[in-house]
């Protein structure tokens, strides 16, 4: 089997034109009847669903190969055209050839010698513009014009397709080559159709509606039209009809064949279905996002996959994925039966419950379902032979690829270990949420089970979650503590955090530490820093800054100064552990540390409520004062503007100066309010803590909820359009102060006034619209980028090469370093020094 596989590699694909002889040769039937089935519902001989073209109805047999629906690939037929017709898609090529060859000797038009040209120009000057002559036979060259879509004009006279064909046929192979075509694969006269291939029925299957009525494919409809006109044309020619009528019918035939190839050809109306819907013909099938190329050929559908809603589970490891029992029972992995696992395979086949075999594939490729009764299974198990394949259900520890769309980067698909769980959703640890950009508000994700050992090994060693902790985009951690994890870490490690022996034991136990350290506090309690330090390697030394701006010092694996917040954990700490200790270590570290953090959070009782956003009376006074001052400043500015005493900023109009200054003032006021809010809510306010340590939210959110929503903007300016001289009809005309231009004085806590609400919604709407536009535009840009760069790889000599082996970079990135480790390099003194002398 393997030997065969190796031989079946496609080396190249050649594209070429069919010659009329070739079309006749491959055709198994001449199609002459413009109809499909007879009254009994049986395919008509010589009709468009002739049995020689293959079958689509189960039960019938192909008259050519004897195959059934499944085994017969279909065979081409043909229609002998009474008069030749131009192939629309090649019109441009034909035009190019006609313009560059001589109509009488069919030779390539060569450049006229210089003297002759000068002579001609001289003569031309006297006799008016003179026509060019052929360099070989001296024939005057006609002016060739193309009348779109398919008519060629020679000196303003219509050239009928057979004339064009004769012209093209007269060109020698040598000249065809000079014109850039290959006469072996594409003679120019083949671009004029004399015989039309009819695709097999399997290409254009008819569908049977519930009513029993048959509905034919668009292509079949089009072919019916072609045959009908072809016959009519033939009858008219035989009857000796006047040339005019023949030419009309000929043109009609041309129209039908043109739309058969492309029903969106410019300058002609598209052929329509009876219902008025334009027909989907050959070009439409291939083209665009839903066409054959992008939908079916570049995007393949797969088996052994599952999709369901995701939900969080902080108890499973981050490289695990919780798979519902039902899905685990459905997905299988092929197991090659060997002398060493024969017994195991037999047991699997014999089992009637969950981890069991579902199918047996015999060495001849026959697939047998494992029996339902015990006797059957026993028999099957007994007959099991080495070399067969057993398809067993997935179990805990199997590797699977997990993916969430849109797959914007490679870490949108990572390998997880399967963990079978009750329930109906995929479970994942919230810490792996950022690479997938997933949340649990109803997101769905896909799971793929790999079907051979090579793929499984690659997934395990290259795509596994723990190897993707650093992002290849910037080398910083992308799998890092999220939201509550960060809060928990802070609560655990902040100064003054102490835990009783029981609490400490519990926390350490969750992290998998069973050896109790000595208490470090005088009162016999344990500091959070000590507990955290238990997970650090003893030779770790880090001095870094936290998000809050404090210094964090780890000395010999002990956290001695500072509290761990978002920046402290995801910065140097994670990056260095990853490079020095490897992915698996970091994975275990994170899993443990996060369990600790979450338990610390649980002990603390960390929560947010309405109280967190209620400002004291004094605070309100202060805020009111700030806002009032801002109002005065704004009004003052407006007064200056109206008196034209306002000083104009360089390069902008007076009005623009006013607007931008007001925006500055509102921002300044909001920041001042921010200071008051921060002080008033206090540093023990959970909301403020979360904002400061980078767990969730920002100070701005707190300001908007508790104090003032502040200025709303549309297109980075204060809202200014709407009614005449005012934005909303509630306002006085011509007033330019805060409220009238979208300053929301209320807080979300107090609630917005109707006009404030409206203007707030204006800003909200804009950002929504922008987001929609942005995703579409950036999606297309990314598609183009990927398409342009997808063939670039690093060769073993570190050059970057394109698919054709042309060199794009001599050393990848100038230094050959993996961007995944680019930021880490900074932390590693030894490597840094080394790079200098090898660079």
């Amino acid at each position: 089997m393997l030997e065969e596989d190796i031989r079946h590699i496609i080396g190249k694909i050649r594209f070429s034109l069919y010659s009329p002889e070739m079309i006749r040769k491959i055709a198994v039937a001449k199609i002459t009847v413009p109809d499909t089935y007879d009254d009994d519902g049986y395919p008509i001989d010589g009709g468009l669903v002739d049995l020689r073209l293959g079958v689509v109805d189960p039960g019938l047999k192909c008259k050519t190969c004897g195959g059934t629906v499944k085994s017969c690939p279909g065979h081409f037929g043909m229609i002998e055209l009474v008069r030749p017709v131009v192939h629309v898609e090649f019109v441009k090529h034909i035009y190019y050839i006609l313009k560059n060859t001589c109509p009488s000797c069919h030779k390539l038009i060569t450049e006229v010698k210089k003297e002759e040209m000068e002579k001609e120009v001289e003569e031309g000057e006297k006799k008016g513009r003179k026509k060019k002559k052929c360099g070989h036979c001296g024939e005057e060259l006609p002016e060739i014009k193309l009348m779109k879509p398919t008519t060629f004009l020679k000196n303003k006279d219509v050239m009928l397709p057979h004339e064009v064909r004769e012209w093209l046929a007269g060109i020698s192979d040598e000249d065809v080559r000079k014109l850039g075509f290959d006469p072996v694969y594409a003679r120019p006269e083949w671009m004029i159709l004399t015989v039309l291939p009819v695709p097999p029925v399997s290409v254009r299957p008819s569908i049977t509606l519930e009513t029993g009525e048959r509905s034919e494919d668009d292509l079949t409809h089009k072919l019916v039209d072609i045959i009908r006109i072809n016959q009519k044309l033939e009858a008219n020619i035989n009857a000796g009809a006047p040339q005019l009528i023949i030419e009309d019918l000929w043109e009609l035939l041309q129209y039908h064949i043109t739309t058969y190839f492309d029903n969106e050809t410019a300058h002609i109306p598209p052929a329509r279905h009876r219902s008025g819907r334009p027909l989907k013909t050959l070009a439409q099938r291939l083209k665009g996002k839903e066409g054959r190329f992008r939908y079916n050929l570049s995007g393949k559908r797969v088996n052994f996959s599952a999709r369901t809603v995701i939900s969080p589970d902080p108890r499973i490891r981050m490289d695990e994925v919780g798979v519902p029992q039902k899905i685990a029972e459905e997905l299988t992995i092929p197991l090659h039966v060997t002398p060493w696992n024969l017994e195991y395979c037999k047991q699997l086949v014999m089992r009637s419950e969950y981890p069991r075999a579902l199918y047996i594939i015999r060495s001849d490729g026959r697939r047998v379902k494992v029996g339902a009764t015990e006797e059957m299974r026993k028999e099957q198990a007994e007959s099991l032979k080495v070399g067969w394949i057993v398809e067993r259900q997935v179990v805990d520890g199997d590797i699977a690829l997990f993916n969430r769309q849109p797959s914007l980067h490679r870490i949108s698909m990572m390998a997880h270990e399967i963990k079978v769980l009750p329930g109906r959703t995929f479970r994942l640890n919230p810490v792996v949420t950022p690479p997938y950009n997933a949340d649990f508000d109803g997101d769905e994700m896909n799971l793929h089970v790999m079907q051979n050992e090579e793929a499984q090994a690659e997934a395990r060693y290259l795509a596994k979650v723990e190897n993707q902790i650093l992002s290849p985009r910037h080398g910083h951690a992308i799998i890092k503590p999220q939201e509550d994890h960060v809060s928990g870490l802070y609560i655990l490690t902040r100064d003054g955090a102490e835990f009783s022996k029981t609490e400490a034991a519990h926390i350490l136990y969750l992290a998998g530490i069973t050896k109790m350290p000595k208490p470090d506090l005088k009162n016999g309690k344990y500091s959070g820093k000590l507990l955290f330090s238990q997970l650090l390697p003893s030779n770790l030394n880090i001095k870094t800054k936290s998000k809050m701006g404090d210094e964090v010092v780890i000395k010999n694996g002990k956290l001695i100064k500072g509290a761990i917040d978002s920046k402290a954990i995801e910065g140097e700490l994670l990056e260095r552990l990853f490079v020095e200790k490897g992915g698996e270590y970091v994975r275990n570290f994170l899993d443990a540390v996060l369990k600790m953090a979450l338990h610390a959070l649980y002990l603390e009782g960390f929560t947010v409520s309405l109280k967190n956003y209620t400002i004291s009376k004094e605070g309100k006074e202060k805020i009111k004062a700030i806002i009032e001052r801002m109002n005065r400043e704004i009004d003052n500015l407006i007064l200056q503007y109206k008196n034209k005493t306002l000083e104009r900023s360089p390069g902008v109009s007076l009005q623009e100066t006013l607007e931008s200054t007001i925006l500055e003032i509102t921002t300044k006021a909001r920041n001042e309010v921010g200071e008051v809010v921060e002080k008033d809510l206090g540093k023990d306010n959970t909301s403020i803590i979360m904002a400061k340590i980078g767990a969730r939210g920002s100070l701005l959110n707190a300001i908007q909820m508790s104090a003032v929503v502040a200025q709303q903007t549309v297109r980075s300016k204060r809202p200014a359009r709407g009614y005449r001289k005012r934005v909303l009809p509630y306002f006085k005309k011509g007033v330019l102060s805060g409220r009238e231009r979208g300053f929301v004085y209320a807080s979300f806590h107090d609630g917005l006034k109707p006009d404030e609400f409206y203007l707030h919604a204006m800003g909200g709407r804009e950002s929504l619209v922008n987001k929609a536009i942005r995703t579409a535009r950036s999606g297309y840009m990314q598609r183009r980028l990927i398409n342009a760069l997808q063939d670039l790889t690093v060769a073993p000599d570190l050059t970057v090469r394109n698919a054709d082996d042309s060199i794009v970079q001599f050393i990848y990135g100038g230094d050959g370093l993996d961007p995944m480790f680019s930021s880490t390099t900074k932390h590693l003194e030894s490597v840094k020094q080394d790079d200098v002398d090898t660079a």
């Binding site: 490079v579 398409n787 993996d818």
Partner: protein
């Protein structure tokens, strides 16, 4: 210790056959969704300068001219230290056209053009009537009669002369309106900006060749955001560096951090052929070797038909081509081949 360090170095090197192209494309494309569409405002020079996603698209499209071309003119040491000197240079390189300081009226009946000099504007732009007159005289062909009256110039064309008709007169008057009186063609709204302790001039436009000939300009540090112009004047290496800088600036401004190697690869891919190729069907993707690869991207029918007419061959060397036929893709582990004879 040495061995350890060697191992570490090896670990940090890029893996052979790594699909670095896709990784770079994703690394630049993925943050695209997070970018804002807001425009940027350079004081005085230009408003609504595209930043973020629109500018990024502009760069990878390799547009002939950016929406808002800017040119940064750095000055020689003697000029860079004082604002006044820099202001003077800025004024000298700013283009002043005839229509900026005068009104041009054409009379198609009498075949004449009247230029009315606006003294106030002229003084502001430092253009004298004498200069203007000289420039106008030089610009016109000999067949025109030029008469100066006070602050006005009257130009009369001879009706009898061949080729002189109403269309010709209108054309001449349009040409005169765009007549460069002073400064560098295409450079406008020059503003002196400070960077560190150095003054330099930032202006609209991109006429490098014109600006460089000014004696105060440091020719080694001139820069414009028009990448095509950089390619034309300084060559492809400079263009590559310009692409690198422009993409980096866009990402930096958005606060998005993307490793420089990814940007470098995009810049190199766009320029390695020796001329700037855009990312898209008219550039890199359109010049790919595989027929199927091109057909699967855009303009499917066109590529298939051309391939058939030319009897083209697809050697299946690209990623898309192999996906289409259902084979292993030639990147990463797919490039490693193991040959053996099974028993």
């Amino acid at each position: 210790m040495l061995i350890q360090r060697d191992n570490m170095k090896k670990k940090l090197k890029i893996a052979p056959y790594e699909a670095v192209g896709v990784v770079s494309a994703q690394s630049i494309g993925e943050p695209g969704t997070q970018m804002t569409m807001r425009t940027f405002h350079y004081a005085g020079v230009a408003e609504h300068v595209p930043t973020g996603l629109p500018r990024l698209i502009e760069i990878v499209d390799a547009k002939k001219e950016p929406k808002k071309p800017l040119i940064d003119v750095y000055l020689k040491k003697e000029y860079a230290k004082s604002r006044e000197k820099a202001e003077k240079v800025a004024e000298e390189i700013s283009a002043v056209y005839l229509e900026d300081v005068a009104e041009v009226l054409d009379d198609l009946e009498s075949y004449s053009i009247e230029i009315a000099f606006d003294k106030k504007e002229g003084e502001a732009q430092k253009v004298s009537f004498k200069d203007l007159k000289e420039k106008v005289e030089k610009a016109l062909e000999k067949n025109a009669k030029i008469k100066a009256e006070g602050e006005k110039i009257k130009i009369k064309f001879d009706k009898k002369e061949k080729g002189v008709n109403a269309k010709y007169v209108r054309k001449q008057s349009q040409k005169l309106k765009q007549l460069l009186l002073k400064g560098v063609d295409g450079v406008y709204k020059a503003v002196v900006t400070k960077e560190g302790d150095e003054y330099f001039v930032r202006a609209g436009g991109y006429n490098i060749v014109g600006v460089i000939s000014h004696p105060a300009v440091d020719p080694s540090r001139i820069y414009t955001n028009n990448i095509k112009e950089i390619e034309r004047v300084f060559g492809i290496e400079a263009a590559r560096n310009a692409i690198l800088k422009e993409i980096k600036d866009v990402l930096d401004m958005q606060g998005l951090y993307v490793d420089i190697r990814h940007i470098m690869l995009v810049a190199d891919a766009m320029t390695y052929s020796g001329a700037i190729q855009s990312i898209g069907r008219h550039g890199l993707s359109g010049s790919k070797v595989g027929v199927l690869g091109r057909a699967a991207f855009e303009e499917t029918i066109k590529h298939l038909i051309n391939a058939a007419a030319k009897g083209e061959e697809d050697k299946l060397i690209g990623v898309t081509e192999n996906i289409i036929v259902g084979q292993t893709v030639p990147v990463g582990t797919g490039k490693v081949k193991l040959k053996f004879m099974p028993r």
